[in-house]
Symmetry: C2
Subunit: 323 residues, 2 copies
């Protein structure tokens, strides 16, 4: 059964199967995925991130439907990453409930990813899932994450375009700046813009953008040769207000990247980070596989008992392997 070939033709069931294999880190599935690699690199990857309560999922839903409008032949993929349930490894139904509009349109393909608690593992599996959906011919892939932190940095590495969603009343200005992860934003959205406080939120975001330091805009000017001005948009996702403007901003950012060399430099950054991730993991697996029985557990025990420092224990493990 040539799963890769079926995925390449856009077979949804084959894609779903491949994504399950990816989530399970199944060896054969990963071989199939590697076969698909030459078919990837065509999708526009859009990351959407923001704190809980900003209405992000609803916005993703509406954005997916708006990207479809009038383009029957280019379905939209949505990958919802849930890094908030590390120990159960199960995504909760929240996204799917919220996504019912989009999921009832069969031109939208939705998949939730759950973390399994492995450091960095979620980023790699998400990158793999994006590649699978990309190879299946989707021209827009929306990757939604919950929360603020490491996961968002990784999305910024993964995505061509990163949308950061805020909402009025999510805390005072200091919090907004702190939680804003503004440096990774290509587009800022104030959702729930019909609520009191929307003007203040827009003002706080603008002030934060204008603050000194190496903002995304300046970085863009340095690395991509051209300046991108981060727009601050207002939406009311539940009513669809402002979603058309958001689609325009997404398309405009894509053109900006393509014209200014940013597309290529982001592809290279993505390749670098994925390669480093995989290399790190493979080296560790090979090393641990070559250690003597019980050597790893003995080192853990010595560190836990404060007999040696972690630094010394690593040296000892490395020395052991060299002998």
């Amino acid at each position: 059964m040539d799963l890769a070939r079926r995925v390449r033709t856009g077979d949804r069931r084959a894609l779903a199967r491949l994504l399950t294999l990816i989530e399970d880190e199944d060896g054969e599935g990963l071989v199939e995925l590697a076969r698909l690699y030459p078919d990837t690199g065509r999708a526009h990857l859009v990351g959407i991130t923001g704190a809980p309560g900003t209405g992000k999922s609803t916005l993703v839903n509406k954005l997916a439907l708006a990207l479809l409008a009038g383009k029957e032949t280019t379905p939209v993929g949505v990958i919802a990453v849930d890094p908030t349930s590390p120990f159960t490894g199960g995504a909760i139904l929240g996204d799917r409930i919220r996504m019912r509009d989009a999921s009832m349109d069969d031109r939208v393909f939705i998949r939730s990813m759950a973390t399994r608690g492995a450091l960095g593992g979620l980023a790699r599996r998400t990158a793999d899932a994006v590649q699978a959906v990309d190879a299946a011919g989707f021209r827009h892939i929306l990757v939604e994450t919950v929360g603020a932190g490491q996961a968002e940095v990784e999305i910024a590495r993964l995505a061509h375009t990163t949308i950061v969603v805020e909402a009025p009343g999510m805390g005072d200005d200091v919090q907004a700046i702190k939680a804003g992860i503004l440096e990774i934003a290509d587009i800022l959205v104030v959702n729930k813009a019909d609520l009191p406080g929307a003007d203040e939120t827009v003002r706080a975001l603008r002030a934060a953008l204008d603050l000194g330091g190496p903002s995304r805009r300046e970085r863009a000017a340095r690395s991509d040769g051209e300046l991108w001005t981060v727009p601050i948009l207002r939406t009311v996702a539940t009513r669809g207000d402002g979603v058309a403007d958001l689609v325009q901003a997404v398309e405009s950012h894509r053109r900006h990247l393509e014209q200014g060399g940013g597309w290529r430099s982001r592809e290279r950054e993505r390749a670098r980070s994925e390669l480093a991730d995989r290399l790190r993991e493979e080296l560790t697996a090979r090393f641990l596989g070559g250690l003597g029985d019980g050597a790893w557990e003995a080192a853990v025990e010595k560190v836990a008992e404060r007999q040696v420092s972690p630094r010394t224990a690593v040296r000892q493990l490395l020395g052991e392997a060299v002998e």
Copy 2:
């Protein structure tokens, strides 16, 4: 200048210096830290996490002061981790503004950590910082993080006791559960409990705790031999309401861990994860150092151009090094 010895005597300036060296990943600083390792393991590490806007920083402030009450000889350390500013690498003043009560009491030592964008690097530097503060004789160390996600999983690995802070009106029930990172909580706090909706939030948390699946409580029963019932406390941190109960819950969780074997099993888990982290990094650094000039960049380029898959590129790099 024997920095380690000065830190060991509780010299605050020496501690601050060592923490700066740790943040800079300075080689000599890390040697000093390794010397201090036998002096660590005595502090009670308390992680405090929750979404932006929950009033977490104010609560940490009040908790630090309450832990001090009547115990002149045991200062409290606070490490505020800010994973939301990955690209500037600079912690914003927010925490310090909010922490002014505690920072005016010289028995509280406060330090902000900023991320430098390195995957996993923040967790390691935070673990190092905690060790330094531990060796300096602090008996309580509060580690505060922003956001929800990977960083919180790592805090759960680092801390003996993890407090998850929620607030009323941070989104509906589905969001609350989704963002709740409930599985890592040893103590749940509904802060801003004087706001409307506090009862609903408590109810939603209790319902989520009662849901099936391997919750923290069940895990505790399996690995530590004894059941810990996660309490749900109400606080109004700005007024100090409920903070005394929180101190009691923290102390009670400590006793639970010490009596049931949980303290020891958490130390072992921490050692394991720190050792794995360091090993991974050291292996990668050694491998990259041994590669031929330009081999790494050439591999990145081939992957970015879709000439080879990341999987194949890693194999080729490993093969090259073996020859």
